[in-house]
Amino acid sequence: MGGFESFLFSFFNPKVMATYLPMIAQGFGLTIVLALLIVVSGLISGLALAVLRSFGLRVLNWGIIFVVDLFRALPPLVIIVLLFFGLPAAGISISGFAATWLSLSLVLMAFAEEIFWAGITAVPKGQWEAARSTGLTFLQTLRMVVLPQALRITIPPLTNRTIAITKGTALGSVVGVAEILGAAQSGMAFSGNPSPLTLGAIAYLILFIPVVAFGRWVETRFAWKR
């Protein structure tokens, strides 16, 4: 067997691929569910923290900054392992799926808060003053004048960060989540052939290329007329 044939046999073995395709497909579904949950909870809680921070309550803001810096500094895998192996010692057992979801949500929350906050502070003070001078309340101004402008500025960095963090779902394989990478590793272990990993890589491309394209579409869709 020549080098190239050996390469094909290892990475593009049709028999192995056919056998483990259903398993990878299941992992694909699980990754989508996990990623969607992370995106929803991470972005909503990040936005909520940024809004809370805009009230300018000093002690509350110290707390927010502490939490945000903590989860931006810790590697996501450390948080996952800490939750999965640490919490049972405290009498709380948590599934690998839940540990991965919670960890990555917290990380996305932290980064999203910083991005949303940067967007809110980038809106000129005059926008607040104009809106408040017409009798709009603080919250009305935030919701109808400031946030729409802030969100538009934040879409590119937010899309990048969201993609980067949802790709972290692969870390779930460490704590036994059968998402794409987990399923591919199992397939490789059972078959003694790395072809399931190739399937896994293809699955990630199928999943994330549309997400990247969607991010680009959102950017143009939300740009206001100039």
Binding site: P124, G126, Q127, E129, A130, A131, R132, S133, T134, G135, L136, T137, Q140, M144, V145, P148, Q149, R152, W224, K225, R226
Partner: protein, 253 residues
């Protein structure tokens, strides 16, 4: 109006003993300002004299450290006052226009009509159309701010304020950010407002406009009101040395 401090009827703006400090710097040092209904008062003075701060106190965008302000009978600085309710009677126009960039001209005007006055969409749209027509922008209603010239943007900002039918209008250097050829359109709108009887307080360097349209000119320097009177007196025969120096400086331009 013949002289300062109009005696009757009761002033619609009555600010008394206003103090404002930023850190150690006192920007307002016990300033009084009374404005009668339908009066146009011009506030002039060198930069840093506190004139913009005074204006911004009149709708509490700036919180004075001391003093009292009554606008249309409302005690503005009282903690019991609903400042948002008070502000709908006080229109404000800014140097930098501050239009909402994500909304069309019409939506800019409609926002407070809907959310503050509670008008429905159709009625707010109609009022906005009327206000924009009044400032000469009937053709530009569906344009976004970035598609409008500076002068047009400022007129939208004026429409946004007058659509709420305020009792007084505050202008904070409304033409300072405009190219010279665009100033006229904004001043025309202000002139028409004045003819319709709007009470106006204007901080501006448009001395020709002040001479022609103001009832009274207030000269401020170093956080104090040094002198006030009809334009003919302030520009023709200023009493105070600082006023004379300032007028000379302005006239040289």
């Amino acid at each position: 109006m013949t002289n300062a401090a109009p005696s009757s009827p009761r002033p619609i703006i009555d600010a008394h003993g206003l103090w404002k400090r930023f850190g150690n710097l006192a920007v307002l040092k016990g300033v009084d300002l009374r404005v009668a209904e339908r009066e146009l008062v011009f506030i002039i003075g060198p930069s840093g004299s506190g004139k913009s701060t005074l204006l911004r106190c009149l709708n509490r965008l700036e919180e004075p450290d001391d003093g009292s302000i009554h606008v249309d009978g409302i005690e503005l600085l009282s903690p019991k006052t609903d400042i948002n309710a008070a502000r709908r009677r006080i229109g404000m126009v800014f140097q930098s226009f501050n239009l909402y960039p994500h909304m069309t001209a019409r939506q800019n005007v409609m926002l407070a009509l809907r959310k503050v006055l509670g008008k429905d969409k159709a009625e707010a749209g109609e009022i906005a159309a009327r206000a924009l027509t009044r400032v000469g922008l009937a053709e530009r209603m569906e344009h976004y701010p970035a598609q409008l010239s500076g002068g047009q943007q400022q007129r939208v900002a004026i429409a946004r304020a007058i659509a709420l039918e305020p009792r007084v209008m505050l202008f904070d250097e409304p033409t300072s950010a405009l190219d010279p050829e665009l100033v006229g359109g904004v001043l025309n709108v202000m002139r028409e407002l004045r003819q319709d009887g709007m009470t106006m307080v204007v901080v501006s360097h448009e001395m020709a406009f002040a001479r022609a349209a103001a009832d009274r000119v207030v000269f401020m320097a170093d956080g104090e009101k040094l002198e006030e009177g009809p334009p003919a007196q302030i520009f023709g025969a200023p009493q105070h040395e600082r006023t004379r120096a300032f007028i000379r400086q302005i006239d040289r331009h």
